[in-house]
Symmetry: none
Subunit: 155 residues, 2 copies
C-alpha cells in the first residue's frame, strides 16, 4: 500500500518578489510518485513553515470522521487550528510554489528559504532562524548524549 518516502536534506532556495520558491527536486519527485499534493501550514511550535503530503493530513481527517467525534469540542478546536491554517500548494511546470504572505511572515522569510527534511514532514525556515535552530539542536543533543560527540570540527 503506502509507498515509502522521506523528505531529506537541507536546501536553500531563493524567494522572489512574488513569493515563489522552487520546491527541491527530490520533494517534487515524492509528490509525483505518490500523486498527492504538498500542504503547508504555520508550525505550532516554531517560527517556521511546516509541510507534508496531503495524504498525511487526509489520514488525520479520516480518524476524526466517525460519529463519536462528529460532535466533540476538543476535536473541533484542533481541526480548526490545523485544517484552517493549512493550504494546498501545487507547483508549476518549473517546480515552484507560491508561499502566502501569512506563512512568510510567520517564518520571517524574506528572500531566502531553507527546506529541512524531517522524514514524513519538512520545514521551511529563514536562513537566520535555521542557523539558530540548528545550533540549538546540536547543543541540545550534545548535552543529552555526550557520548555521541567525538569531533569538534563541525561547530
Amino acid at each position: 500500500m503506502g509507498k515509502t518516502f522521506l523528505f531529506l536534506d537541507t536546501i536553500t532556495n531563493k524567494v522572489d518578489s512574488k513569493g515563489r520558491v522552487s520546491l527541491p527536486a527530490d520533494y517534487r519527485e515524492i509528490v509525483k510518485e505518490l500523486s498527492t499534493n504538498i500542504v503547508c501550514y504555520r508550525s505550532l511550535s516554531a517560527p517556521c513553515i511546516e509541510g507534508c503530503t496531503e495524504e498525511l493530513l487526509a489520514k488525520l481527517a479520516s480518524e476524526m470522521e466517525s460519529s463519536l467525534d462528529f460532535f466533540s469540542q476538543t476535536q473541533d478546536d484542533l481541526t480548526n487550528l490545523i485544517f484552517g491554517d493549512a493550504r494546498k500548494f501545487t507547483f508549476d511546470s518549473t517546480g515552484r510554489i507560491v508561499l502566502s504572505e501569512k506563512l512568510l511572515a510567520h517564518a520571517q522569510i524574506t528572500d531566502s528559504a531553507v527546506f529541512v527534511g524531517k522524514g514524513r514532514k519538512f520545514q521551511i525556515w529563514s536562513p537566520e532562524n535555521w542557523a539558530k535552530e540548528e545550533k540549538r539542536i546540536r547543543a541540545e543533543i550534545a548535552k543529552k548524549r555526550p557520548s555521541l560527540t567525538f569531533s569538534r570540527e563541525g561547530n
Copy 2:
C-alpha cells in the same frame, strides 16, 4: 475507495445584499471532483454556519442507524437537529451560493463571510466572531500543550 479531499485554509469573501457569496475555488473543486453537493446547517455549538459534502451526512446517517452504544439517544437527537436544519446549496456558473436569512442570522454575518476549513467539514463565520474564536482556540491549545508554544526571540 473514497478519494481524498480536504476543506482547508481560511478565506474571506464578500456577501452582497442578496446573500450571495463565492464558495472558495478549492471547495468548488472538491464538489466537482466528487460530483456531490454542499450541505449547510447552523452549528450546534457555535455562532457559525457549518458545511460539508452531502456524502458525509449520508455516512453519518448510516452510522447512526447501526450505532447501539450508550450515547446513541443523545447522538440521535443531535443528528435530528442537523438533518432537520440542513439544506443543499448549489452554486451558479460564477461559483456563488446564496445563504439563507436563517443561516446568516445565526452566524451574525452581514457583509463578509470567513470560510474556515476543517478537513471533511468547513465553517462559515463573521470576521468578528472568527477573530474571537481563533484567539480562544489558540489560548486553549496553548494551555493544554504549553510545550508547543514558542517565543519569537527563539528562547
